[in-house]
Symmetry: none
Amino acid sequence: MITPNPAPAASMIPYGAPIDLDTAKRVAAAAGKEADANGWPVVIAIVDSGDNLVLLHRHDLAQLGSIAIAKAKASTAVKMKRATKLLDEGVSKGGAGLRVLALDGVVPMEGGLPLMQGGRIIGAIGVSGVTSPQDGETAAAGAAALNS
Amino acid sequence: MITPNPAPAASMIPYGAPIDLDTAKRVAAAAGKEADANGWPVVIAIVDSGDNLVLLHRHDLAQLGSIAIAKAKASTAVKMKRATKLLDEGVSKGGAGLRVLALDGVVPMEGGLPLMQGGRIIGAIGVSGVTSPQDGETAAAGAAALNS
Amino acid sequence: MITPNPAPAASMIPYGAPIDLDTAKRVAAAAGKEADANGWPVVIAIVDSGDNLVLLHRHDLAQLGSIAIAKAKASTAVKMKRATKLLDEGVSKGGAGLRVLALDGVVPMEGGLPLMQGGRIIGAIGVSGVTSPQDGETAAAGAAALNS
Amino acid sequence: MITPNPAPAASMIPYGAPIDLDTAKRVAAAAGKEADANGWPVVIAIVDSGDNLVLLHRHDLAQLGSIAIAKAKASTAVKMKRATKLLDEGVSKGGAGLRVLALDGVVPMEGGLPLMQGGRIIGAIGVSGVTSPQDGETAAAGAAALNS
């Protein structure tokens, strides 16, 4: 008898059809509204389920470095099928969690979230510009708009 | 007496303050409207006067390769202070015009236009997805919205 | 009632007009004088507010690797709107501070400083060649000349 | 008896010790003076005999694309031991001259010149910003200052 040794749950989430531009605009608008309400200058990036950029909006005042970071957070969330906050916590804990620093294009910073629809990943949102928790709150506001 | 040998007019155009997000959205909306009216699936990219991305919208159906091409056309227009169509024609004519093929990050294809305000370059729009003249028409519709 | 959750102060600093060459030369001269007085062979790089190179001087004897590092420190300072020393300290402390090691083109080493004028970031200086504190002292001497 | 089949003369020119910063500044000053006298906004780059950047000055108004092009012209001149004008003419003629377009980092545009001292290549100057002949005239003014 084989001992069951299931894959991590996240690994089993299927990719769905790519998010379309109208939906991406709706997600970005909700995220942008949250950022503006708080006075947070951010960059918002949305990639589809194939890790290809669909939308990027750089708010005025946002630091230039956040263009690449927002894109990388979205990319990390869709490529790793998980919130970047999980990798963020892994690095902060040290030890084995540090291994992700060896991965090109994987950014372990809160602010990247998979966008789910019908149990499938249709893309991801990445936000950068303020503190990581503020970036994360902004991304969450965007993701929440997806199914509202 | 020195024979005057003036710089090309384009070289003397100054860069201005970077385009802001609201203006970029207005330009992208005008370009997107033109593309949609014609049934052209395109990617629209807008960079500021320092060649940093401000906005990217990928319309549904657009070929994935156009994400990088739209960005590169916008980048080329702002970096070379000219419509990419001029480089496009240069390559088509052959001879010395072919030299730009050696330049990394310079894309000699119609569809990239500087965005001008008050005689200064505040950014550039790049469009890719259909034929180069169609890309160019879409970019022009966006640029026209800037001062309307 | 909403609990205020303000953005970090650094995030709110606006970018200004790009530093001009004469000013960059003045900054580099002050930094170079400090380096020479100490016998420090360094590379000095200055980028503008759009992260485009304005000036680079490699002093004799400076290690070749410092060409890219000086440029990257200046780039990091302008893109992240902060002294690279802050990222340097973050990495040294470990934990969450290590996350910046995942970011391409972000160099968390002392020696990069934003150049401010009238409350705006007009560019940044990056110095590399000796120890990080010595690089930082050299960069500071350059930045100090900006408003003298 | 072997038929003599000598290497191209340019191939036999030896590389010398790398140009120092003071000399590079003198070359750049002479080139910059020529450009300013004509009202030409240019970028001037100087590499040493090992193709490593020693100096870069971007004049105000110069198009951003010229930062990389000036550097590439200097690099091409030192790597190929010849004036980039020779490659420029080759491309313009077509045929076999076009082959250089396949080479990464080789820019066949007038404006790059080896810097010679005592029969040896100590570095190269690259200029970009205006027309290729104007770039070339600026570079020549810089190179002329080397032995004056």
